[in-house]
């Protein structure tokens, strides 16, 4: 990076660190923070979408739809995350490949399961095995997002389902008395008022989601934990210009600071949002705001 970095072994500590912290490997470490933030930025709205659909389904008047919603909530909430992450991703991947296999190679006569190999025809591979690595990474990342969204969507659905029931029933009855249809009541009365009840639960979920991102590592995505472990390990001078001892404790301390700062920031934002949502609501918070004004 800097011109004086050609021989780091003769540098004094500050210059050495300036060089060390700007090596290509450290850049990949910094970029992995972006990966984590990107995952959160995509997963949170998608999970909320899953949650909303789940909650809406669970309280539907059409019984099979309601069962479906409740089944989704109960099933995903009851399975340990790590099982879900390891099993579901493989199952989803193989399921997709199986479907593509059925469509694209109808005259394939060999069994798909051969011992431990899962063999579909070349054209059914997802992504195609000839595709460059970047597609495989995008595919892996997408699977991770979908898995996170399904898991956290189930919890969000439960929170939203509860929040919808917490909206005072009198509000809905009044709307009905005014001649609103069910659809109108749902979108104009129920949804705008339920957020204040949902937010404490959703903010918990958001915090858990932030802390669950290291599970990415299980899915083969190179996240901050992967790099911290690799970079923190002791390095000998034969294979790097920057030999050092076991620095894992410092790297993980860095991660600790990152996660704490990030959750703190989230808390501040969520608090503000809560104040805003409470405004004019028939809750204790809303009442306190009214009295203070």
């Amino acid at each position: 990076m800097f011109s004086y970095c050609t021989d780091p072994s003769v540098l004094a500590a500050p210059a050495w660190f300036a060089c060390y912290l700007t090596t290509g490997k450290l850049m990949l470490f910094y970029a992995s923070f972006g990966t984590v933030l990107l995952l959160l930025a995509i997963t949170a709205p998608v999970a909320l979408g899953f949650g909303f659909a789940g909650a809406a389904a669970a309280r539907a008047r059409f019984a099979p739809l309601s069962w479906l919603g409740k089944l989704y909530i109960a099933m995903v909430r009851g399975v340990p995350d790590i099982v879900f992450f390891l099993f579901f991703v493989i199952a989803l991947d193989q399921g997709l490949e199986y479907l593509r296999h059925k469509v694209k190679c109808p005259d394939w006569d060999q069994p798909i399961r051969q011992g431990s190999d899962f063999i579909v025809c070349q054209a059914a591979k997802l992504p195609l095995s000839t595709a460059p690595q970047i597609w495989h990474e995008i595919y892996g990342f997408t699977l991770a997002v979908v898995t996170f969204a399904i898991v956290f969507g189930a919890f969000a659905a439960n929170v939203l389902f509860g929040a919808m029931r917490a909206v005072p029933h009198a509000q809905l009855e009044t709307a009905e008395a005014y001649g609103m249809t069910h659809r109108q009541i749902f979108w104009r009365i129920l949804i705008p008022q339920m957020w204040v009840y949902a937010l404490p639960g959703l903010s918990n979920l958001w915090m858990v989601l932030i802390k669950a991102t290291p599970l990415l590592f299980l899915l083969g995505v190179e996240d901050i934990v992967y790099w911290a472990r690799d970079l923190g390990g002791a390095k000998t001078a034969r294979f790097t210009d920057y030999p050092h001892g076991d620095w894992r404790v410092w790297y993980f301390l860095g991660l600790l600071v990152f996660y704490l700062a990030f959750t703190r920031l989230s808390e501040i934002v969520l608090d503000r949002l809560m104040k805003k949502l409470t405004h004019g609501q028939a809750t204790m918070g809303g009442e306190a705001q009214r009295k203070a004004a």
């Binding site: 991947d93 899962f118 690799d230």
Partner: protein, 240 residues
């Protein structure tokens, strides 16, 4: 309209895929110098990088490097996350049941004990990396086996006193012992384990295996493999 748009998008996508060249993805660990490691620039480097790139050139394949955790390196090969394992993996029967190996490209390597002092208890707690030949050897030797996911962690465990000794590949340990300024020393006799190092390939991928086998044969024949072995493992290493 929507359907047409979606159809076009799918077409465009698959056309893009079809244009791409055939890519063989080389799976490695990236934490096992001098076999393979991530260099300062953040790229896979080491003996296997140089060797693998040469193989791909000879077999006329486009190769890309992928890193994966050691513990799950075989399952991820089988499930198709990459097409080969080139990660200093010794050929043994247990692995051969699940995947296929090319011929060996490194002669059977020695493993050694490293400890903090000459009189370390080699039948006490010995650290080794999970699912390696060394871990298998220790668990049968009567010592208490302490397993870690990476090789780096076993050395850390020795330094902080969690283990009485470590048992691992001599080529990996040698530079570490050399630079420890007398803190770490080799103890006991080196042991030869395994049948040499080979590339792991899915059992169904016979064509790819043949290509790499041919390339390895040609590198053995013209002596370029030996040159690489000496470059990365030193003058005293076994060659073909």
């Amino acid at each position: 309209m929507k359907k047409i748009l979606l159809g076009t998008a799918v077409l465009a996508f698959s056309a893009g895929m079809a244009l791409a060249q055939d890519v063989v993805r080389m799976g490695t660990e990236g934490a096992y110098p001098p076999y393979n490691f991530i260099n300062d620039a953040g790229e896979v480097d080491g003996f296997e990088r140089e060797f693998g790139d040469e193989l791909c050139k000879r077999a006329e394949l486009t190769c890309e490097w992928v890193t994966n955790e050691w513990d799950s390196i075989i399952p991820n090969l089988v499930s198709g996350n990459y097409d080969t394992i080139i990660a200093g993996m010794s050929i043994n029967d247990e692995r051969d049941e699940v995947i296929d190996f090319t011929q060996d490209y490194i002669p059977p390597a020695t493993s050694s004990y490293v400890a903090l002092s000459e009189d370390a208890d080699l039948s006490g707690v010995v650290a080794a990396q999970t699912s390696t030949l060394q871990a298998g050897y220790i668990s049968e030797s009567g010592a208490t086996l302490l397993e870690f996911a990476t090789a780096d962690e076993i050395v850390a465990a020795l330094r902080n006193g969690e283990a009485d000794a470590v048992f691992f590949d001599t080529d990996y340990l040698a530079p570490i012992v050399e630079e420890s300024a007398g803190e770490l020393i080799f103890v006991g006799e080196p042991v030869v384990l395994g049948r040499g190092t080979g590339m792991g390939i899915r059992e169904s991928d016979t064509e790819l295996k043949d290509k790499f086998d041919a390339a390895i044969t040609s590198m053995k024949a013209d002596g370029s493999l030996n040159t690489l072995l000496v470059k990365w493992f030193g003058e005293d290493t076994d060659t073909y």
